[in-house]
Symmetry: C2
Subunit: 311 residues, 2 copies
């Protein structure tokens, strides 16, 4: 059983009957809850494991930054701004005091950069590998959070930035796309139907959004923006930059389903000082995920992204 099946089992077996929970496990990047006086909050958590999500070849400052930034990316993808965060740190004995201090410095630097207050945590130590779990709470820019499951037939699919090759180092410094989602929501909150951040690769994450929305998608190879890192990797391993752009994980760019009319407005007025958005395809009624290739053929998008297994 891998992560997707486990989440499905959890949601099937543990339906939440709590009026304060508006979206729970498995449905989204974030859970969405409401306080007694009607404040909407989003909560999300991400765990980084040594030798899976980071190695000590990176500085612990960068590792700390990443541990906070990946959670902030989830908040951004839910259309929320940061409020408060906590850290659960499982240190590997031997990493030492300076490593831990620099890790904390990286966490606080990232939190400060994006307006998150780190308010609590727990520090433990064992034989390792190290584990870092950050949990953050945010509040929506608009009236309510943006979910994954709202894509509608005819929507335009867009991504922020460019994709692929984060393994060359960019994955330690993901940029949560707060400015971009805030601009989208300020332009027309009703035109943003679905959003998620790309953590496991477009070829795995796009089907997730479409499955939850009970829609399909048609994307076009030549539209997909790839990074110079994707090109660099392609030069090394013989795969294409396109292959890396759809299959590499940890881009932390946003994938959005928005109305064509909102896309038209955005295309003409997108600010220069934030990451670009690119139309990569559209949402279809047929629940298939198709890709139109540069050679003129159209076929199913094959999933080759990364999934965590238990066995």
């Amino acid at each position: 059983m891998a992560e997707n099946d486990f989440l499905k089992w959890l949601t099937d077996h543990h339906a939440i009957s709590d009026a304060s929970v508006l979206a729970g496990i498995g449905e989204d990047d974030c859970a969405w809850v409401m306080t007694a006086h009607g404040d909407n909050l989003c909560i999300t958590t991400d765990t980084l494991l040594e030798n899976v999500h980071f190695t000590t070849e990176a500085t612990s400052f960068d590792i700390g930054w990443k541990s906070v930034a990946v959670n902030l990316s989830d908040l951004a993808s839910s259309g929320c701004k940061p409020c408060w965060g906590t850290v659960g740190l499982g240190m590997r004995k031997g990493l030492g005091e300076e490593w831990a201090r620099s890790l904390a410095e990286g966490m606080f630097a990232c939190a400060s950069e994006y307006g998150l207050s780190l308010v609590g945590g727990d520090t433990t130590s064992g034989a390792g590998p190290a584990s870092i779990t950050v949990t953050v709470v945010g509040s929506p820019y608009a009236d309510q959070p943006v979910l994954r499951n709202g894509a509608q037939v005819g929507d335009v699919l867009v991504v922020t930035g460019a994709l692929g090759g984060s393994i060359l180092g960019r994955h330690y410094r993901p940029v949560p796309r707060f400015d971009e989602i805030a601009h989208l929501l300020a332009t027309d909150p009703t035109g943003v139907h679905a959003c998620m951040d790309l953590s496991d690769g477009l070829s795995m994450d796009l089907p997730r959004m479409m499955n939850l929305s009970e829609t399909g998608a048609l994307i076009t190879e030549k539209y997909i923006p790839y990074t110079s890192d994707a090109k660099e990797l392609a030069g090394r391993d013989g795969k294409s930059a396109f292959w890396h752009s759809i299959n590499d994980g940890e881009d932390f760019e946003l994938l959005l389903a928005i109305t064509p009319s909102l896309f038209d407005i955005l295309e003409k007025n997108w600010p220069d000082n934030i990451a670009p958005i690119t139309k990569i395809g559209c949402v279809t009624a047929d629940q298939k995920i198709l890709i139109h290739m540069a050679d003129g053929s159209t076929g199913p998008l094959l999933t080759q992204g990364y999934e965590h297994g238990f066995n």
Copy 2:
């Protein structure tokens, strides 16, 4: 550097300037924040590591239960009832599907028992040991949470339940003392000055509360309630049941500083169906932690509880 020093360094170097944060890192079991419309919330997180806080000799159901219960204990100690929780799971590859399912069942069973909604999580897997970080949000029973740092000279120190020997198995099934703190607060919220849960042993945790409160304490050996487990362990290792009651970790009982007048009321009317409370001493002006021993001598309480180190 160990956990206490690391927390001190964090709080010294990263003061929070955020009006929505009323109590942050290092000050308490929980952080205390306020939402836009004035709802007080407490947030806390605890990380359990395989071979430190649990071993696979225990059932994964019990491990799951514990991972939630220890966080609920922090909420109870802050005078808060449970709202929402998230789970960050770092699986060790090889633990397998059934282990993970049963772990989740234990988490959900504990959450359900105490009215917590588990709303989200993240599942990863690596070489292990496994790590489990649960984060919970709660709301105060009274107007505001109870902190650790409010003990006042002349207060009565009380503990719930009995202490020591949790290593014999009780540490997998801690009972968050919601009923007990709720009864205290319903009786007289202004009489409850400070509270914390005993996770690292009374001899380590009592000085923490007194240091934060800038007070001292005088406790009495013969008053300290010990469990049958503490007696059992004493029979095996030649230490006393008293030694285990003050030095063993993971009791998850509450330590409170309350007014003498509240204690008088409680002593006469404590409900039969919840854990007893016992007076163990009083809060003093002299910032020393003293213990009056059964042999008539009085001296400093020596700290022998458990502290996580990084080296």
